[in-house]
Amino acid sequence: MTKPKDVDFSLVLASSVHDMKNSVGMLIASLESYIEEFPPTNERQVKQINTLHYEASRINSELVQLLTIYRMQNNHLPLRVDQHYVIDVLEDQLARNHSLLESRGVHPRLECDDSLEWFFDADLVGSVVQNVIVNCSRYTRAQLLVSAKVEDDFLRIVVADDGGGYPPSMLEAPSGLVQSAEVNEGNTHLGLYFAEEIARLHKQRNRVGYIRLENGEPLGGGCFNLFLP
């Protein structure tokens, strides 16, 4: 028999997270087809369904991040940079969250040149954008803007909303956010840590990717920026 101490806990955790992610995936798919078939008939139902939908999406994207971090740390999944049409990756993420955004009455807008190409790991960058979109769906009032363009030889991906914006503590936080302090406050900022790690993995010559949080422009709410060399 295997003694508990022989088991690599992080491995057990990772495989359990993997299972959970599959289950949540099924949950979201079932929920979406349920909403399709039985649209909510009153305000209360809309609210309940929205909560269900948002929380499930949030769990899903957090689990994806956990798995990705685990794999990156164990060198199971190195960066795979290839050339992509930026609009494809952004469209994918909006499509992935279409139902969530629609049920919350959020109208997403995508601004990206159809022929804009860039070099990056589409799975990783996609999951960063996905996470920010899910987050925005919760805090925005009605608008969501996803855009991408080239600035100073960096690809700048922006996810902005018209909500209340990021709290000051997050705006001021230096790099390497989620060391330990925030965990105690019940908010691990896992998403930010993840985004920062993914950005940093993208290197080109001497330049390294980074993220920046702002409030205000362009929609008056929070604005997440991902810069990739």
């Binding site: 995936g25 099924m26 798919a29 087809s33 190195p78 290839d82 994918d92 992935r96 799975d123």
Partner: protein, 544 residues
């Protein structure tokens, strides 16, 4: 997204969860697709593809017991059950290493991560279908085996700056290489790399260099590629080819071993590892690789009876060298042979080989009672056949030797030598059974190795001399001259003061082997006796 006529599309959904099949089916319904088939396991997908041509196959990686999505695609491609224009989309719960490996090895047209919804499906399919439309002419030309026309179209697409430029460039590079247009391929990859060092173009350029014979450069580049992206399996394959062409079999083995460690599910790489390990005389690795080959073969289109025969052959060699505990290995080998009898429709020749191999391992384990009836069965089969293939006859000789029927073995061997007296390639195969090779190539090889080894010995470079002789020892284990040269080098080492336990035991082992090969009337018997005395006195000094 209005340019796609969804009502005309034929789509196959494969997933072991009925829930998922129904959900995706409903999504497709909303897009206006109504010609949808479903499959719940790999065998069903293969069966359905034999009956119908689909536009899109949405196949989950995990299909429950049986083949997974990658194995399904491998078989569909290998047996040419789907045309190029069929789009295969691999669906998975997340981007695990297995899925990434699958993407490198069997190149699905795309892969999708669950959970999926109608909008995602629509975006992806629209993108892929538009690409297919753009490449339609290329596919048609390739299917008509008109590579000139395919090239012309791809060049046209690569030059125009469209959404399909990159796909066209990738295909064009492959096609240039396949058609031997290396200079054109080199120009194409170089042009792509001027913009950014993408893996596929780096590998393409390294392949071109390899094929041009610039092996040093190709090797350097390939090492860099796998250092930057250790999961990039195709690069290891080319790197192994590169080492092979340079004649460094050890490096070939190391490289294939690395790729197998990263992707333990690739049966073809296990086969290659077994092959090269056998050539290197590393039976432990060869045996392990063949064990994996046989296991993976249960679900692979690349399985064949030879995998089992090779396993039994190497198991037998390992038994002879006493590398592994006999009993479990004999049982395993017999079980593997029996499973092959059950799984493959074996020809008479193959049945004979199976019997002989089983008999041989039984005999090696001292179970002559179990071996005898199998040998008799094999001999009956042999008698019915006018043209017994050489491979079967070699098995017969080895089995007779294992049974201790040395006279019969010698007679048969003698007959074979006469029969194949003018067939050099047959003689090369027979050489492995003989004390001295008879084929010209092998004679020349042994002579060259002996010359080189003796030169090293004369310079007192004993370690290198031993390594040199070892190169031929495992190919011609019954070659007394080579064995004696090794002993002499070992003694040189002992006398030079290197009296470690390893050297002592190697010397003892080599002498024992020679003792079993040689009789008093052998031309080298006197030399053997002399070396034996020298060894004893050198080793005795060790003890003090």
């Amino acid at each position: 997204m209005t340019d796609i006529n969804y009502s005309k599309l034929r789509i196959l959904i494969a997933d072991d969860f009925s829930n998922f099949r129904a959900t995706v089916n409903a999504m497709l319904g909303m897009l206006g697709v109504y010609q949808v088939d479903t499959a719940s396991n790999g065998a069903e997908v293969i069966d359905k593809c034999q009956r119908k041509t689909y536009d899109v196959i949405l196949c989950d990686y995990d299909l429950g017991p049986g083949k997974n999505g990658q194995q399904v695609l491998e078989e569909l491609r290998y047996r040419a059950l789907i045309p190029r224009r069929t789009l295969f989309i691999l669906v998975s719960a997340d981007a695990t290493k297995d899925v990434v490996m699958a993407a490198y090895d069997c190149e699905p047209n795309d892969y999708l991560m669950k959970p999926i919804n109608t909008q995602m499906l629509q975006h992806r399919m629209a993108r892929l279908l538009r690409q297919r439309e753009a490449l339609q002419g290329v596919y048609a030309a390739l299917e008509a085996e008109d590579s000139r026309r395919a090239m012309a179209r791809l060049i046209d697409l690569s030059l125009r700056d469209t959404r399909h430029t990159r796909a066209a460039q990738k295909m064009l590079g492959e096609l240039f290489i396949a058609e031997g247009e290396l200079n054109k391929a080199e120009r194409l990859y170089t042009k792509v790399l001027e913009v950014r060092p993408v893996d596929w173009a780096r590998l393409g350029l390294a392949r071109v260099k390899h094929l041009m014979g610039e092996l040093e450069i190709a090797g350097d580049w390939l090492e860099k590629i796998v250092r930057d992206n250790p999961l990039y399996l195709p690069a290891y394959d080319v790197l192994a080819n590169n080492w092979e062409q340079m004649g460094h079999l050890r490096q070939v083995q190391t490289t294939v071993h690395r790729s197998v460690t990263i992707s333990p599910k690739s049966i073809l790489r296990h086969k290659r590892l077994a092959q090269v390990a056998e050539r290197n005389g590393d039976y432990t690795t060869a045996l392990q690789a063949l064990r994996s080959t046989v296991r993976l073969g249960e679900l692979s289109c690349h399985a064949c009876p030879d995998d089992v025969f090779n396993f039994a052959r190497i198991a037998s060699a390992a038994l002879e060298k006493k590398l592994h505990p006999a009993e479990p290995l004999v049982q395993e080998t017999v079980a593997v042979i029996n499973s092959a009898r059950a799984r493959f429709p074996l020809s008479r020749e193959q049945r004979t080989r199976a019997d002989l191999l089983a008999a041989r391992v039984f005999a090696q384990a001292g179970k002559h009672d179990s071996a005898q009836p199998l040998v008799e069965a094999a001999e009956t089969l042999v008698r019915c056949d006018e043209h017994v293939p050489l491979e079967v006859n070699i098995e017969r000789v080895l089995t007779l030797q294992a049974l201790g029927e040395n006279e019969q073995a010698e007679t048969l061997l003698h007959e074979l030598l006469q029969k194949y007296a003018y067939d050099q390639s047959a003689l090369e195969k027979l050489d492995t059974l003989l004390a001295e090779p008879v084929s010209e190539t092998n004679r020349a090889m042994v002579a060259a190795v002996n010359r080189e080894g003796i030169e090293l010995y004369n310079q007192a470079r004993f370690e290198e001399a031993i390594a040199c002789f070892e190169k031929v020892r495992h190919i011609f284990p019954r070659h007394v001259g080579v064995q004696l040269n090794i002993v002499q080098s070992l003694i040189g080492k002992l006398r030079a003061g290197q009296k470690d336990a390893q050297t002592v035991s190697s010397t003892e082992q080599a002498l024992a082997t020679i003792g079993s090969l040689i009789e008093a009337d052998h031309s080298q018997y006197a030399r053997f006796q002399r070396l034996q005395e020298m060894a004893t006195s050198s080793m005795a000094l060790t003890g003090q």
